[in-house]
């Protein structure tokens, strides 16, 4: 009896291993085949102009006049939690866009890794905002958290553009329009 259980378990085990390996190898192949178009297709629509204004209002870049946006305006410009949900999903795409460059430039891994850690932290803070929205404290906490998250996201997009431009990838122009 135990031998039969062992054989059945081994069959399931090997099938599971083959299934997992096949799934991930096919996924890697698909990513590699239509990587660029599918990557850009995964970007969620956000109002880039408004997100940039919200970010620059905090970043205090040289030569830029800060608008001193009030919390209500920040909430409206980002689009509330919907805007942050889109930003959260886009963070993953930014990481993959950096990883895309690794095919030719392995050193791009450094940026992909940094972006991945940034993305993880942004997601954690957005998760806290979700918690606040459930307890009815979203409006109070939103501007402080959200503006910093948007500013970090903005810096992530700048890093990505600098990378693509720096290594002279032909996809740079398309990326500039997309993020």
């Amino acid at each position: 009896m135990r031998e039969m259980v062992f054989l059945a378990a081994t069959g399931v085990f090997v099938t599971a291993l083959l299934g997992v390996a096949t799934y991930f190898l096919l996924r890697a192949r698909r990513i590699s085949r239509d990587a660029w178009s599918s990557l850009l297709g995964r970007l969620k629509q956000i109002d880039r102009e408004k997100f940039t204004r919200v970010a620059l209002d905090l970043l205090d870049d040289d030569g830029l006049q800060r608008e001193h946006l009030d919390p209500e305006t920040i909430f409206e410009m980002i689009g509330g939690m919907n805007g942050l949900d889109a930003l959260e999903e886009n963070c993953d795409v930014l990481v993959d866009l950096a990883a895309y460059v690794q095919r030719w430039y392995p050193e791009a891994l450094l940026l992909a890794e940094d972006l991945r850690l940034n993305a993880r932290e942004i997601k954690w803070h957005i998760g806290r905002l979700r918690g606040a929205s459930q307890t009815g404290h979203l409006r109070e906490q939103f501007p402080m958290y959200a503006q910093r998250a948007v500013a970090t996201y903005y810096l992530m997009t700048r890093s990505l553009l600098v990378l693509y431009e720096g290594v002279r990838l032909p996809e740079f122009a398309e990326l500039q329009h997309a993020i």
């Binding site: 135990r2 031998e3 259980v5 062992f6 054989l7 378990a9 081994t10 085990f13 090997v14 291993l17 083959l18 997992v20 390996a21 991930f24 190898l25 996924r27 890697a28 990513i31 905090l58 970043l59 990481v95 993959d96 990883a99 895309y100 690794q102 095919r103 030719w104 430039y105 392995p106 050193e107 791009a108 891994l109 450094l110 940026l111 992909a112 890794e113 940094d114 991945r116 850690l117 940034n118 993880r120 932290e121 942004i122 803070h125 806290r128 906490q141 402080m144 958290y145 910093r148 998250a149 500013a151 970090t152 810096l155 992530m156 700048r158 890093s159 600098v162 990378l163 720096g166 290594v167």
Partner: protein
């Protein structure tokens, strides 16, 4: 143990194949990049010679202990290869990312636990404890190596980390061989002591030998070829990226501070 002409042929071809592969590793200077893999191939050559003479000149007892001691070293080297390949995939530029090293340790621990569980389930009908240890040890090693290689593929695809050509080829060969090894080890476990002479086991075992010869040929050809040289990013670009990431880190720090205040 009685060996047939086919077994002797597989043994001899394996020995010659290992010598060719070792020559490729040394002459093409791959040994420096893959010391554990080179170690395994060198061990396989020594093992063939030692076991050949032990079988002919030694006793069954001495053959068992020699076989088993070398098998333990073999499994140790296979684990070292898994680490060697993982370190090339998951830290191509230096240190491990904190969450990657944690994930990898989890994978290793879970793989050991699961392989141990599967091995415990095996109950080979043997007359001696020694045979039970050999059969279970074979199964454990194959299950563990297969799990680790599949998990490495899954983790690298999830993280978007590419495999360089030589690393991928070594992993593919070892992964396929370990996965197949589960079938042979499971058959051996099912048939027990009498399994060595059972037709199904003999067939699976010879197919395993032939598959391994295929792996040796695959490694010899692919490792002899050059892999594409990676391009370098200009230093100025590194500086600019470091500056931007420094600012992002500051922003996240203020986010954390905000979080701890509220």
């Amino acid at each position: 143990m009685r060996l047939t002409g086919v077994d002797n042929l597989l043994w001899a071809l394996g020995f010659i194949g290992h010598l060719v592969l070792l020559s490729v590793l040394v002459l093409r200077r791959r040994a420096r990049s893959f010391p554990a893999f080179t170690g395994l191939i060198s061990l396989s050559i020594c093992r063939t010679v030692v076991l050949f003479f032990t079988l002919r000149l030694g006793t069954a007892e001495s053959y068992f202990y020699t076989y088993w001691t070398l098998a333990i070293v073999d499994v140790g080297l296979q684990l070292a290869i898994a680490y060697e390949l993982a370190s090339k995939v998951f830290r191509p530029l230096g240190p491990w990312a904190p969450d990657v090293s944690r994930s990898f340790l989890w994978i290793a621990a879970a793989s050991v636990a699961f392989a141990a569980g599967m091995t415990w389930l095996a109950a080979p009908p043997t007359r001696t404890l020694r045979m039970a240890i050999v059969i279970r040890g074979d199964f454990f090693a194959s299950a563990l190596m297969s799990e680790i290689f599949v998990a490495m593929v899954a983790l690298s695809v999830t993280l978007g980390l590419p495999w360089r050509t030589h690393v991928a080829r070594i992993a593919q060969g070892l992964g396929v061989y370990s996965l197949y090894g589960i079938f042979t080890a499971a058959a051996q476990s099912y048939f027990g002591s009498g399994g060595l002479t059972h037709g199904t086991y003999t067939l699976l075992s010879r197919l395993e030998g032939a598959l391994y010869l295929g792996c040796i040929a695959f490694w010899s050809v692919t490792l002899a070829r050059k892999e594409p040289e990676p391009r370098k990013m200009p230093e100025q670009l590194h500086d600019e990226l470091r500056r931007l990431q420094g600012r992002a880190a500051l922003m996240l720090k203020s986010l954390r501070a905000q979080g701890s205040e509220s």
